[in-house]
Each structure stands twice: as structure tokens, then as C-alpha cells.
């Protein structure tokens, strides 16, 4: 019996020839990532357990990316960044992306690939549930808590229960012009539910997936956690190799699922049959098509986060927004500083994206998590009252973007942009067909 991609990575990192779902194994960790919310408590547990003078197991493998509560006056939030800064100095860490310096990056899950830390075949843990994003690179990547992170800081190891794999196979060549990876994942989550993949791997495969860019693959794996998945993964190929090679010379090994690997279940989709999707309040699996919700009144639109604030997300939004004055407040938050620069350099018919957004009346924020998770009350774009928002982010549980009284609809950047233009939920196909003509 063969093994899946995930099983092979876990076998190699636990020094075994093979593993099977349900096995508990201790794996060697290639990269540990933490940020400003969970880093400080992890650091304090590390010192409590290993001593005041303890050193991390391998400083080249620890990456610290403050991104959550950055542009706020909240004194506790700012203290957290100070804790990270002091720890980076004490441990002489080479991979600390400090706030207020030109190293500052923004959202960790997009910063990690940009800086070359997402390499096929490796094991990456991060103190953030969307660490599963890195599975797009054919890596085993998953979120953990502070105690586990502190354990890795001291030992370089962690126990893992080998997950079963659910395989999602996409037929059909490339993505139709009105669809984005976000529509695919919202459809899957809507079909299987927010606990449909609990403790399992979600493997995305088939010609429809191979045709996706790295950024689109990241949108898919990012939301594996919204179905309860332990990790999401895509087999590495030429697209992966090209992206990774442009950012690091570190060697890596590519793994593929065997043809006779055993899966928990297989699910087949045809890209051509999918339509723009929306998750209604207050759960990512509360699915509807954009068409079914046409006309729902909105107060605000938000484009940002690790799943919906990448350069390609803004290019998509700009295609629709160009030449329109928006009906509702629309917030644009680039995930990273590299993407923020891209908004100025990337053009659409000769106009930089940032000018397209400004002319339409968008508010443009600094690279960070911003209102994706609410945050302190002065956070850019935060929903502070009973507002109805359509957002390209990944969660819409009660209070996720701020007030418990707010309602959040999740959708692709195309759908969010189309809805920003009209002020009501709008199927983007109307605009996309216009553009084609």
C-alpha cells in the first residue's frame, strides 16, 4: 500500500520508512513561525521550562513575524512587539521582521513564502491556525499553540498524530474568468461543513489545481482550517519550483502521493460547473451562490488578509473597480509590504492599482492583519457596530471582525469588488462579461 504526500513527509521527519493514519510520531521541525499575539506567551513558557538563559534549538529555523496588532495605540499590543524585539536581540535571531524598520513584512502566511521559508517536503509549525497556507508548496504545515511552540523552541521536535487524507480532485482546465480560488474553497467548505475535515489532511489535486498560480493555491490551503483540517496540501510542480527557487537556494525534496495511497475519501469537482460563492453570517460553511444573494444591502467592503490580500487579489478587484465610484466604504489592506509596493508598480491598462482604488474612493491601509480579526478598537477597517460587510477574508464567526452585532459575508475579491460598486451583494459575472465585450 502506498503513502500520501503528507504521510511521506511525516515518515521522513520521524525517521521511519512508513507511517499510517492514527500513528503518533515525534517529528523534527524545519521551521517554527510565531507572531506578536502568540509569540510573547510562547517565549515566557520557553523560559519557564528551559531556564532564563536557555537558547533556542536552532536560531536559523525560528522565524518571528509581527503582523496582527501593529498600527494601534493599544499599550498591551505594543508591549507584545517589545517582547518579541527583546527576545530576538537576546537570542540573536536572524529572521525577525521588526515593526518600524524596512524589514517589516506584514501578514506572516504571505511573508513566509515571500522570504523563502516555505519549501516542499519540509515540516513547518506556526502559532497561527492559518499556518496551513504553506501546504500550497507541498510542505506539511499546521498551526499549534504557545506551549507546543515553546516545546519546539527548546527541543526542535513535536508529536503529531498522522492524519487521514481527504482528496479533492478538480477536473476542467483552467479557472473560468469569473471564478477565483476563493470560490472553490468556499464551495468545498459549504459541502463538507466547518468540521468536515477535522483532524484530516485536505489534498487538492487534478488538472484544475495544477493550472492555478501559487497565490491561488495558497488561498485554497489557507482555508483548510475552516473545514477543521489539520493541513491542506498541493503536490509540488514546476510552478512551485519556480516560485521557491526565486526566493531561496536552500535544497528541498519533493514528495508525491503514490497512485495506490489510501484516502479517507475522494471528492470530484469540475471547475466549469462552479459559480461565484458566498459564505453568509456567521459561519464559513453557511454557503450560498452570489446570485442567490443578489440585492442584500451592504455597509462596507473589505479586501485583505492572508487569504484575500495578495497581489493577484488586488489585480482582480481592480479589474472590476476601475472606472467606478464605489457605493459603500471599501477598505484595501495589502497583506505585506511587498504587496503594498506592488499596488504602486502593478498597472492595469497603464494605471497603477493604487490609483484605480483611490479614484474609486477606497480607503487604503498599511500591510498587516488589520480588521480581519477585529483587534483593538482603533484597528483600520474594524466593524465597531451593527454593520454588514462583504469581505475577502476567511472567517465570519460572530465578532470576528469586531462587533458581535456586525454581519460578515465572505466572498472572492471579484465578488467583493462587484458588490462594492453596487452597494449590494452582486454576482461578478455581470462585470466580467462587460469587460470581455
Amino acid at each position: 500500500m502506498g503513502m500520501t504526500l503528507t504521510e511521506k513527509i511525516l515518515a521522513k521527519h520521524s525517521g521511519r520508512d512508513r507511517v499510517k493514519p492514527g500513528d503518533n510520531v515525534w517529528v523534527n521541525v524545519d521551521v517554527l513561525m510565531t507572531h506578536d499575539v502568540c509569540g510573547p506567551p510562547a517565549i515566557s513558557i520557553f523560559h519557564r521550562e528551559f531556564g532564563d538563559d536557555a537558547k533556542v534549538w536552532d536560531k536559523d529555523k525560528l522565524v518571528i513575524i509581527p503582523d496582527h496588532y501593529i498600527f494601534t495605540k493599544d499599550k498591551y499590543a505594543n508591549r507584545n512587539v517589545d517582547v518579541l524585539r527583546a527576545f530576538a536581540a537576546e537570542q540573536d535571531l536572524p529572521h525577525f521582521y521588526d515593526v518600524g524598520t524596512d524589514r517589516y513584512k506584514g501578514v506572516c502566511h504571505v511573508a513566509l513564502p515571500e522570504e523563502g521559508f516555505t519549501r516542499p517536503g519540509e515540516v513547518l509549525f506556526g502559532t497561527d491556525s492559518h499556518t496551513c497556507t504553506a501546504g500550497a508548496f507541498g510542505q506539511f504545515a499546521t498551526g499549534i499553540g504557545n506551549t507546543d511552540a515553546a516545546f519546539i523552541m527548546g527541543t526542535g521536535k513535536l508529536w503529531v498524530k498522522v492524519p487521514e487524507t481527504m482528496r479533492f480532485v478538480f477536473e476542467g482546465g483552467s479557472l473560468p474568468p469569473y471564478l477565483m480560488a476563493k470560490d472553490i474553497i468556499l464551495k468545498i467548505i459549504g459541502d463538507i461543513g466547518v468540521d468536515g475535515a477535522t483532524y484530516r489532511t485536505m489534498e487538492f489535486a487534478g488538472p484544475g489545481i495544477q493550472a492555478l498560480t501559487m497565490e491561488d493555491r495558497m488561498t485554497l490551503t489557507n482555508m483548510a482550517i475552516e473545514a477543521g483540517g489539520k493541513n491542506g496540501v498541493v503536490e509540488p510542480d514546476g510552478v512551485t519550483e519556480e516560485y521557491v527557487r526565486a526566493r531561496t537556494d536552500k535544497p528541498f525534496e519533493k514528495f508525491y502521493s503514490d497512485p495506490d495511497a489510501e484516502y479517507h475519501s475522494e471528492h470530484f469537482y469540475n471547475l466549469e460547473e462552479l459559480v461565484p460563492m458566498v459564505a453568509k453570517p456567521h459561519s464559513p460553511d453557511n454557503k450560498a451562490t452570489a446570485e442567490e444573494l443578489e440585492g442584500v444591502k451592504l455597509d462596507r467592503a473589505y479586501i485583505g488578509s492572508c487569504t484575500g490580500g495578495k497581489l493577484s487579489d488586488f489585480v482582480a478587484a481592480a479589474e472590476i473597480i476601475r472606472g467606478h465610484k464605489l457605493k459603500i466604504d471599501t477598505y484595501i489592506v495589502p497583506a505585506t509590504t511587498e504587496i503594498a509596493r506592488g499596488l504602486e508598480t502593478e498597472t492595469l491598462l497603464g494605471t497603477p492599482l493604487i490609483d484605480i482604488f483611490r479614484e474609486a474612493g477606497c480607503k487604503i491601509g498599511n500591510a498587516s492583519c488589520a480588521a480581519c480579526l477585529g483587534g483593538p478598537s482603533d484597528t483600520f477597517g474594524r466593524l465597531n457596530k451593527e454593520e454588514v460587510c462583504i469581505s475577502s477574508t476567511n472567517r465570519n464567526y460572530p465578532g470576528r471582525m469586531g462587533s458581535k452585532a456586525a454581519q460578515v459575508y465572505l466572498a472572492s475579491p471579484y465578488t467583493v469588488a462587484a458588490s462594492a460598486v453596487t452597494g449590494v451583494i452582486t454576482d461578478p459575472r455581470i462585470f466580467i462579461q462587460e469587460t470581455v465585450i
Partner: protein, 188 residues
């Protein structure tokens, strides 16, 4: 082995209680190591749950009373997928700080489950059936971890719990560090 039974009042919740409801993101900034400041986590534990769904079936019962940091309740009984959402360890930590000793739910989101066990905060028990409609907030409960079973003294009922399985050793040790020390993986 922890053999002492866990006893106390039930606090009942519905399904898909995510980590933003357990501890809203705006509160994640407090220190967990400062003995005074960490009490704020007890105060705000479960403060993101919509009021009508907090303390079922009647609702509108906060876990921790206004101006207090410890709860009168000890055991959370919830429906499916407890703890979904983010990886924040502040979630099991805030419940422990509020005085919660155990949770009983038919299923958990995996990072929450793992954090509860590895951090030694509280014991997440899986019930065979969804008990959130059978047990009422305020019922006097007892968990017999040997069987394991949940006894409802108020209603005179007993419900089956699943054995802890592969995490039992870590639970009994009191967390991943204690477990690793017992097994020589980390120096004492």
C-alpha cells in the same frame, strides 16, 4: 494518575463555539504570565458568545459574573466542534483561569483539543452523544475519569464518555513538558 473526580456546575453551550467567541481577539493582548493581569482572561472568557446562546437552554447567563474573574461553573457541556477557529492557546487558558476543569463535547477542533492537553489546562472529554440538550446550565455534574463517565446528580442520569486514547499519557502527566520530562526527552 489523576483519579480525583471532577465535580461542579454545568455551563451549557451550542455547536461550533469558535475561539473568537471563547476569547474575543481584542483581549488577546493581556499577559498570561503576570499573576494579576492574567485574571482578565477569566473575566472575558466566553464573552464573545451571543448572549442568548450563553448558558443554555435559558441563555443570557454569562460564564463569569460582571466584576468577577472566576466562574461559579466548573464543567462546560457543548455541542459539536468546540474550539474551532484560531490556534490561540489563550482559549483553553482563559477557561482554566475562569475555573473550568473539564469540557464535555461530542467533538473538538483539533488545535483547541491539542492545546488543552499539551498545555495541561483542562481535560477535553468526548461524549458519545450530544449532551447539550440533555443537560441544563447549573446541573450538578461529576466526571469519573476511571470509567470514564459523566454523572448528572441533578437529573440522576449517567452518560458515557470516550476513553482519552492516545493523549491519555500527556493528560495524566499534566501536559507535554511534564510528559517529556517523565520520558527523558527534556532534562528535569
Amino acid at each position: 494518575m489523576k483519579t480525583k473526580p471532577i465535580t461542579g456546575k454545568a455551563f451549557v453551550l451550542g455547536k461550533n463555539i469558535d475561539t473568537d467567541q471563547i476569547i474575543p481577539a481584542a483581549h488577546l493582548v493581556y499577559s498570561l504570565s503576570d499573576p494579576e493581569e492574567r485574571k482578565l482572561y477569566g473575566k472575558y472568557a466566553l464573552s464573545g458568545v451571543p448572549a442568548e446562546e450563553s448558558g443554555l437552554p435559558q441563555g443570557n447567563i454569562p460564564l463569569t459574573r460582571e466584576d468577577e474573574t472566576e466562574s461559579e461553573f466548573s464543567i462546560i457541556v457543548a455541542s459539536d466542534n468546540f474550539g474551532c477557529g484560531s490556534s490561540r492557546e489563550h482559549a483553553p487558558a482563559c477557561l482554566e483561569i475562569a475555573g473550568i476543569k473539564a469540557i464535555v463535547s461530542p467533538s473538538y477542533a483539533r488545535i483547541f483539543y491539542r492545546n488543552s492537553v499539551d498545555g495541561g489546562f483542562l481535560t477535553p472529554y468526548e461524549s458519545e452523544e450530544d449532551l447539550s440538550k440533555k443537560i441544563r446550565t447549573g446541573d450538578e455534574l461529576e466526571i469519573d475519569s476511571e470509567v470514564p463517565a459523566l454523572i448528572n446528580h441533578t437529573r440522576g442520569e449517567t452518560y458515557k464518555l470516550n476513553p482519552l486514547g492516545s493523549v491519555a499519557d500527556i493528560v495524566h502527566a499534566g501536559g507535554i513538558f511534564a510528559y517529556a520530562r517523565e520520558n527523558g526527552m527534556v532534562p528535569r
